[in-house]
Symmetry: none
Subunit: 233 residues, 2 copies
DNA sequence: TATATTTGTTAAGAATTTTTTAAGAATTTC
DNA sequence: GAAATTCTTAAAAAATTCTTAACAAATATA
């Protein structure tokens, strides 16, 4: 839990500084940004574990920044704003924020909420790290998530968009079993009420591309009645 | 994967009912409890994904209940209380709660916070299991709830879907006795009017896989006339 | 527009799991 | 101790889940 790096975003430098001091006392490392655009840059440049985000800011406001961050990252976001109306809270949370604190805030409440969010996030294995390296290697498979390319034993293998997304999901979580529904929801981005065997057919096609013998897969294995997984070697 | 199941704990049945209706409208399944002890029972018996917990309750209050739940489970807990003082918020969060809503609450804020917590929790596949370690260890048994795998004395043992679910139920609640009916209802997700010996046959097969001598089981024991349990070591 | 490529659907059959059945063993109750 | 109940076990029947191939539909590319 210690050593977490927190990004504080507020156009009021006095407030940002005060929060920095408060968090430093708790043992956190703080990076500051004074508007949404700076915040986005800071996230790319640093390994951030939590974001404290003001709503009213020049250039790019807090809500838009939240949306932008959520396109790619899953870091906890606590919105911090003077607007105390409920509608703003709801808006913030539905944009993808994880919590909401109204100014003026009680310093202890702030640190408590920060701790709570970090506890949960770091438990998931700090998914920020996995995103840094763009390659996932499992045995003879090497998936490059920047180039959207797969190498099988050193040879480039062409994947279609759907095949790539399924394989990325599985290879990013080796050993973990995903049901067909979950794969469908993650890859197609819509809920799967009727599970046709669409996912299964894709699995078959991926197997043809990555396995020596698709009938006896070494990598992409089925777990009967539960789902599919990539074998962790 | 069905929709999320939420446990609402409040000694005021009117409030509990109101929250139930609100959450039902959002498509969540709701289970109610009217004090902390009932809540703990409900958590064991059902597959809960989120808990809405009142603080002031008879028998076992919300803060103590939070502590108790956190001993074994990592389900998101949102504390819901009339006390609006900051000190209580901090206390709740430091006990292991994930969020805090003060009564009277705005219905939309409640559902927004519920959504927010569930989003985070369900993301890496937490289905009401212990997310912190994803492993349950009892003696030489080690059940991995992400990989849907069982290790017996270090060796991987294949389980079928039903076998896995039964064993997960029992191992997640070591020492607690489950009747065949309760196992059936929990695993098959339907009420058991006439319990054939289906469950017993599965118990037999699990024993064959985890016990040295299935006829004299060390782990999966019968409690005559009542049910089965996993011995707590 | 024509062509190639990707994606979705269908259906048959193969593999595996789950349920049923029924007989025998263990435990409790009378 | 006998009877009733509850649990164990094995095997066959039924049901489910997965694989596969071929084709149709949608989408992208030339």
């Amino acid at each position: 839990m210690d050593d977490a790096r927190i990004l504080v975003v507020d156009d009021d430098k006095e407030i940002a500084g005060a929060i920095e001091k408060l968090l430093n006392l708790e043992g956190y490392e703080v990076i500051k940004a004074y508007n949404g655009l700076e915040a986005l840059d800071a996230i790319v440049a640093n390994n951030i574990q939590l974001i404290l985000l003001d709503i009213m800011m020049p250039k790019l406001d807090g809500l838009s920044t939240t949306l932008k961050i959520r396109e790619s990252k899953n870091i906890p976001i606590i919105i911090l704003s003077a607007k105390s109306e409920d509608s703003d809270k709801i808006l913030g949370l539905s944009m993808g924020a994880d919590d909401y604190i109204t100014k003026p805030f009680n310093p202890q409440e702030l640190t408590a909420r920060v701790r709570s969010q970090l506890r949960r996030y770091l438990q998931l294995g700090g998914m920020g790290k996995a995103l840094c390296s763009s390659q996932v290697v499992i045995g003879g498979l090497c998936l490059d998530t920047d180039k959207k390319q797969l190498m099988v034993d050193g040879d480039l293998v062409r994947l279609t968009a759907k095949e790539y997304k399924i394989l990325e999901l599985l290879m990013s979580n080796p050993g973990i079993v995903f049901s067909a529904e979950r794969i469908y929801e993650a890859v197609w981005n819509e809920s799967a009420y009727s599970v046709e065997n669409t996912v299964m057919v894709h699995i078959r096609r991926i197997r043809e591309k990555i396995e020596i013998n698709p009938k006896e897969p070494n990598y992409l294995k089925v777990v009967w009645g539960i789902g599919y997984k990539i074998e962790k070697l």
